[in-house]
Assembly symmetry: C2
Homo-oligomer: 346 residues x 2
Amino acid sequence: MQVAASVTIEDVARAAGVSRAAVSKVIRNAYGVSPAMRERVQTAIEMLGYRPRVAARSMRGASYTIGVEVPTTANHFFDSLIHGATTRLSGTQYQVIIAPAGPDHDNGPRAIQVLVDRQVDGIIAVSPAVQPSWLEKLGRVTPLVMVGRHDESINYDTIVNDDLQGSRLVVEHLHQLGHRDIVHITIDPRAESNLPQAPHALRTQGYLQAMADLGQGSLTRVVHVAPTELATYSATLDLLDGPRRPTAIFAGHDELAMGVLRALADRGLDASDVAVVGYDDTQIGSHPLVGLTSVNQSAEEMGGTAVRLLLERLTGRTEPAHEVFPPTLIPRRSSANCGPYSTDHH
Amino acid sequence: MQVAASVTIEDVARAAGVSRAAVSKVIRNAYGVSPAMRERVQTAIEMLGYRPRVAARSMRGASYTIGVEVPTTANHFFDSLIHGATTRLSGTQYQVIIAPAGPDHDNGPRAIQVLVDRQVDGIIAVSPAVQPSWLEKLGRVTPLVMVGRHDESINYDTIVNDDLQGSRLVVEHLHQLGHRDIVHITIDPRAESNLPQAPHALRTQGYLQAMADLGQGSLTRVVHVAPTELATYSATLDLLDGPRRPTAIFAGHDELAMGVLRALADRGLDASDVAVVGYDDTQIGSHPLVGLTSVNQSAEEMGGTAVRLLLERLTGRTEPAHEVFPPTLIPRRSSANCGPYSTDHH
DNA sequence: TTGAAAGCGCTAACAC
DNA sequence: GTGTTAGCGCTTTCAA
């Protein structure tokens, strides 16, 4: 394997005794090259350790790069998504680069712009805080797949799980276990987006609806926190020490749920005192020491599907696609106040 | 914020009534522009929503991009590293892009090459499986900082923690608690690298030395596994069900340790039966439900330091730098067979 | 202080 | 099937 920062297509052409265009065709698998020439060119490429420069290619043709934007890589859900995408892309000539929005929230657009500036051939993004109008504009110039958005689109594709149904599953599960006083802890809408189509807004809506349908409408409580384990931890302590301790807590996603479990542990409580359910079915929840009941939304598959949709767009599709994944509730110890010790291995 | 895929420097120049060169100077904060012109140019940039294209800039000058290669983003240690790097870089004109080596091991060079192909201005990489000679070659053309390597270098910088000392701390800690039969589970050298300077090789060495120094040389056992929680889980089950169950297990890093804890839980055992210690002091270990004793090696700081070294190289330094971080043992429940319930909040 | 012009390495028309 | 050539958008001498 060569580093080869200085070998150019010109050098290869000279070494193989052909034109630059011929070399270009070979490295792109384009039509109009005889096997003999392809052979000679490939030999020259190997010998010189030639690597085409992405910057130069980007100026005329493609960058062969897919950009993936995620809020953070610290949440394992997004890692699974990335993993699903890279797996689906291996074997193609496309490479993935990742731009994490980073610690500051509302940085999604900035991270996406980083990818646009690099002229990636397509973008997969998870950014609930971006206005659809901005995405429509972006989608017109770059193939774009948004994960976790429920909005109708024209110039980009969307992939979501049915958040409404997912949180309904949670509430019904807890209700069946005998819980009535169920609190929903979720991220502050201002931190995610005030769009009614944002995933967490829909989960909240699903919670409220399901509670109402089960005749518990008057017991609903929604607590908003910053999107961190720590913030959720504090909020949960308040809840546990407050005048009306709930019997169950439904956290907006698994990272928040871990904060809830931390608070419970600190107060010496467990599932028989307060049941906990998360969302995303993140790796850590399946660990027997944690045993977190959660809603699976097939992160890996979503990543793979995102790539498929992008490749479709890259090869001509123009009408928007919208895929909805069905959520599945995975019951574990954290919501089993009389059940067996779960040792599900994920 | 604009998407602006089609506004070029030419458009800005025309709108501001100046030359392209002038605009170029303004966006690079270069010398030789009058305040009046800077003002006019900046107004035009805002109005048109101009974004310089990285590809075009890369062809002549800099890409203003720092590439970070990590084995995976699923291990939280690397996330902390990335976080430390991006934090240190915010406020500068540099952007970070991430290339994960991905599921296949030994893919480090491939992922690094992805960054080289994109002509990033500097590279931070965590790749124990790469030969120093290859890195020397790379370091000659791109500023390069390697994290987690102990080798002496000429053309690149290295940052490590003192792995030898770190595992010595672990062994001494366990010895003090009364443990004698301590097994070390670590990743298969073939999966990481057969270089004697690789971190895990050194941790193993530290383990062996410390055991010998404490007179337990005859009790040492090293178990090699694939670098996954699952593989470690299976190996641990074998160990627990085997003829000579150890009283303590020192795992090569926290992800492996989680596999050990999973196996213990499956067998209904806990810290009073088998003590467990990990390495990296990963987020999850600090959770009270897990309480994993581990060795902290300041991932965030390492990321920040990597950026600092890179920026130094970018502004002229040529002699190699080598920074060593001191490891710290963080005792928690998993190695406290008679201690209190730890609720350390990280 | 400002602008004109050359060219970075590659791809895509188009001519042969 | 193969080569020639004109740029892509930017930075960077070098003149003015």
